[in-house]
Structure formats: C-alpha cells, structure tokens
C-alpha cells in the first residue's frame, strides 16, 4: 500500500519549490512541476480506487490515532479523489494555453488548492480537516482575484467575508465537539458522541452544517458563488465548480450522518437541497452572462446531490456520487468551452455568441455535449446519473421531491437550449477567431465513453456503491 500522504505532499512541496524558483519568469519550471504533480496524483488516486477494498487507516507523525493524526482511504474518498485529481489534470492542461501572465503565482495557488482538497478528503481528524479546508479557502480567494480586475477583487472580498464566517462556525463546532467528547479523531468522536447531551448535539450539527454549507453554496449562503465562479479564470471556474464546492458538501453529510449519527437530519438535507436546486436553476435561467449561468447551474446540481444524500435509500450514496462524477466532467467541459469562447470573442454575454458555432465548431460542440450531459439526455452519462438519483428518491417515497427535480430539469433544459440556439444561429459572429483545442475533443470523447460504459455498468450492477452505504464511510478509522 502506497502511503496516501503523497497525494497531499507532492502538490504542497511542488508549490513551495515553485515559490523558491520564482526567478524563472518564463513559468516553464512551474508548469513542469504542476503537470508532474497532478499527473502523479491522478495515477495514485486511480491506484487507490482500484486497490481499496477495505478502509485503510495510516498513522502519520508517529502518534497512534486518537491522539495523533491519521489518513483514511476508503471507497468513498478514493472515488472522489480519483474524479477530483482527474479534473485537476485536465484543468492544468487547459491552463498551459490559457494562463500567460503570472504563471508562477497561478501554479503555486493551484497546487495548494489540490493539496487542500486531497487533504480534506483523506484526513481522519476534524481539526486537520479544518486546516485543509482553510488551505482550500485561502487559495481559492486568491485564485478568484487572479485576473486582477474590479470584478475579481470584489468577488474575492465577498467570498472571503462569507468564507471566514463559515470557518468561524466550523471552528466553534470543533471547540464544542472537543469540550463534549474530549477528542478530535472522527472515529473516536463517533464512539463517544452518543453520550453527549441532545442540545449540544443539535448545536454542533447546525454549526457544522452552516459553516461547511457556506463553502458548498447551499441556498441561504450561496450569494458568493456566482460572482466568484464567474470572476475566476476559466480553468479555475472548472475546478471550483467541478469538485471544490462538492467536497465540503460530501464531508458535511459524512460528518452529520455517520460521525455524529443524526439520521433525523436527512429531511433537512432534502428541504435545503430542493431550495438550492430550484433557486439555482431559476437564477441560471435569468442570467445573460455565460459564466454566471453556469455557476448557478452548479448550484442546482449541488442541490440535487444534497437531496439524494438526504434520502434514506441504499442507493443514495451511489446516486450522489454518480451525479458528482457527471457534474464534474460536464461542468468542466462547459467552463473550458465557455473559456475559449470568451477568449476569442472578448465578451461574457450570451447574446454576443450568435453564430459562433461556425467559427468555433469544436468549442460549440463541446458545449452542446456538456449541456446535454448535464440535462440528462440518454446516451450520455448524465442520463444514468440523474436516473439513479431519481430512482433512489422514488424508492424512498419522495414522489413530490422527484417531481420538483424534474421541474428543475425542465428549467435547466430551457436555458441550455437557449444558449445552444444562439451558438448555432445562422448569423455570423464578428471578430471571432477560429481556434482548435485537442483537449476539448478528448473531454467530449471521455464523456461519450463514460456514458456508454456507465450505462452498461448500471445495467449489470457492477458499480454497486450500495454496499458502501453510510456506515462504510468510516469503519474502524483508528487502531
């Protein structure tokens, strides 16, 4: 078994090495280190995905877990790690062409973001989770402001204020957990938490839900998301939407349902998820800026994931992880193609993209594939993920919820079709440059292949995360 700490250590050390070799202005060193780090991580994450049969706990720094910090790899974290690191590879490859200025700074922040995400998924210690969460937050504040324009600074400040409030809430929850249980290790908390008074339990769960909910953009705390995701450089928007907001979401549900043992929170998840979904989709419908529309659509998908995780059926986790996989790929594809369209037209407004498909056939085609996969059109993977999600909701009796999700899907379809219609409009766009990108082509093919193979897997039941139900989130995290 390879030590999973390399998933955190390689990007973290890479970031430090780049900052020490800052005098190489060309950014060649930074690019090499970044590419090698993300490729290494993707391969290692795939290795864990294939080889993890039972949860493995690794002690770091020599102290045994309830006192020291441990890293836990299980099916769930290995799957999320594999998807996240794969998206990171695609994003770095896209950035090679997209980011020309300040490449050193960019790759330092990017690698810190990856290190934080991997650490947050792997760690088995709640305070350590908070530290990695802060690494994610601070590097994404800086990346949102990376283009150094008015919008970037404003969005970044807004994100910083809300994000800091969120981390204060999480820290309060951690302090209360330590006061009541006297431990910080997830497994140890799970054992000792049942004897805690009910008032404290509810208080801790609410603090955690609102703290991590700010980062995950759950409905009342979503105001920073459209600004931050639309002001960031396009490859960063892809990463932020693709997995950075999903990781806190999955972690909240993991902590509240399995570690704190609150099964009664599932109805709250469903209600929050539904409002997030509907608010996200309706707001996306009204947007004229393409990246804001995509950012709001991410919010809708977050809502869908939260609803699925809130259902009590055995397929809930499978459904949510499939939605996560589909959204990560489809949304990064959408942001990549939107990024190249923005670069060549110089405009964020959807109305300026009339007839762009003629000049940029590949980008437009990639956009169509991403949009169709997100809506859930049959041959693509999106269909199977949404089908699985709705199946798990219906099997736990949520017919009204399923209807509302379909309503959200209809709204989603309407605005994506509107954009696609603009792209394939007969009129010529002015000033567009013809541009080809092999990356987009490869992403399109990945989604297509994933769609076909995913359908076979679902039919034959090979992807059976069902046996990976809530409990195995965290079996035996220490010892």
């Amino acid at each position: 078994m390879v030590n999973p700490i390399w998933l955190i250590l390689y990007p973290l050390c890479g970031a430090f090495v780049i900052s020490m070799l800052y005098s190489f202005k060309s950014g060649f060193v930074a690019k090499t280190i970044a590419i090698s780090a993300v490729l290494f991580n993707a391969v290692l994450a795939l290795y864990f995905l294939v080889n993890t049969n039972t949860p493995v706990s690794i002690t770091i720094a020599g102290f045994a877990p309830p006192v020291g910090i441990n890293l836990v790899v299980d099916h769930f974290s290995a799957f999320v790690l594999a998807v996240a690191n794969f998206i990171a590879v695609l994003s770095v490859v896209y950035s090679l062409n997209h980011i020309k200025e300040n490449a050193n700074k960019y790759y330092i922040l990017f690698l810190l973001l990856i290190a934080g995400s991997n650490g947050m998924l792997l760690t088995g210690d709640i305070f350590n989770m908070f530290v990695f969460f802060e690494i994610i937050c601070i590097s994404s504040y800086a990346l949102v402001a990376f283009e150094q324009n008015k919008n970037g600074f404003e969005a970044s400040l807004k994100y910083l204020i809300l994000g800091t409030l969120g981390s204060i809430l999480i820290l309060t929850a951690i302090a209360l957990i330590y006061m009541t249980t006297g431990t910080l290790n997830f497994g140890d908390i799970a054992v000792k938490f049942s004897s805690v008074e009910n008032g404290y339990k509810v208080l801790i769960a609410i603090f955690l839900l609102s703290g991590l909910g700010i980062e995950a953009a759950i409905f009342p705390f979503n105001t920073w998301l459209p600004d931050a995701h639309s002001s960031a450089p396009s490859p960063i928007s892809a990463v932020l939407s693709g997995f950075v907001i999903e990781i806190p979401l999955l972690i909240i549900v993991k902590i509240i349902t399995t570690i704190l043992g609150f099964s009664s929170f599932s109805s709250i998840f469903v209600v929050l998820g539904l409002t997030t979904l509907l608010v996200g989709e309706i707001s996306a419908f009204k947007q004229t800026n393409i990246k804001r529309a995509l950012a709001y659509s991410s919010m809708g998908q977050i809502g869908l994931m939260l609803i699925v995780l809130g259902t009590t059926s055995t397929e809930a986790l499978t459904g949510a992880l499939m939605v996560f996989l589909n959204h990560a790929f489809a949304k990064s594809l959408l942001f990549f193609s939107a990024g190249s369209m923005i670069k060549s037209t110089g405009s964020y407004e959807i109305s300026d993209y009339k007839g762009l498909a003629k000049k940029m056939p590949l980008s437009a085609f990639a956009f169509v594939i991403g949009a169709l996969s997100l809506i859930g059109v049959p041959p693509l993977f999106g269909f199977f993920s949404k089908f699985m999600a709705i199946k798990s909701i219906v099997s736990s009796g949520g017919y009204l919820v399923a209807t509302l999700i379909l309503l959200g899907t209809i709204i989603e379809t309407v605005y994506f079709v509107q954009i696609i219609q603009k792209l394939y409009n007969k009129k010529e766009a002015e000033g567009a440059i013809k541009q080809s990108s092999s990356l987009l082509a490869s992403l399109v093919s990945i989604i297509l292949i994933a769609g076909i193979t995913g359908s076979m897997f679902v039919i034959s039941g090979i992807i059976n995360f069902g046996n990976l139900s809530a409990v195995s989130f965290l079996t035996k995290p220490f010892n």
Partner: protein, 121 residues
Amino acid sequence: MMNILTYTNIFFYGSLLLMILGFVIVFTQKNILKIILGLNIAETGVNILIVFSGAIRSKSAPIITNSFKDITSMVDPIPQALVLTSIVIGFGVTAFGLALAVRLYEKYHTLDISKIRGLKW
C-alpha cells in the same frame, strides 16, 4: 462538563458574546475595514472558546520538568496547540482581506461596500 460551566460561565458566554458581536459588525457595517475587524473579533471569540475547552481551574501549565511530572494536575495542552493554528490562519485571512481592501480602494476610491457594485451584491 456541567461543573466546568458553573464556575467559568464568564469565558463560555463571553466568547459566544464576542462571536455574536463580530457577526453583528460584519452584517451591519458598510466599511470594508470595519467588516474585517468584525471578523477578527468573532475569531477572537472562537479562540477563547477553544482555549476554554481545555482549561480547568487550579491546574498548571502543561510543561513537564525534572521536578514536576504530575500529568493529572496539568491542563489539557491540545486546545492550546489548536488555538495557535487558528490564530495563524486568522492572521493570514486578515492579511489577505486587507490586501484586497487596498486593491479595491485603488480601483473604486472608496471603502464603502454599498458603493462597490460591479457585481450584484
């Protein structure tokens, strides 16, 4: 748990009060510097709460020396380690926030967030 609360109410409720005060400042003030100050006040509140979670009256600092090795009469050192980390994180966030405030002032010539409206607030 409860007997700690009875004689150190002041720390527990005081820290919560500081947090609430910080949050009120963040949500009511328009000036970016005041908002960042509000965040700092709330952070101080949490830090006190963390230290308090390990503090026990009449116990000494957790330092083992040749003459003093009685672990049971020492306070819990873990929260003190945590609070150092949290102070450093708070420092970093504050520094970044202030840098953003400077850049926003350069662009807009104001620190009033109600006048900085390039995006929809």
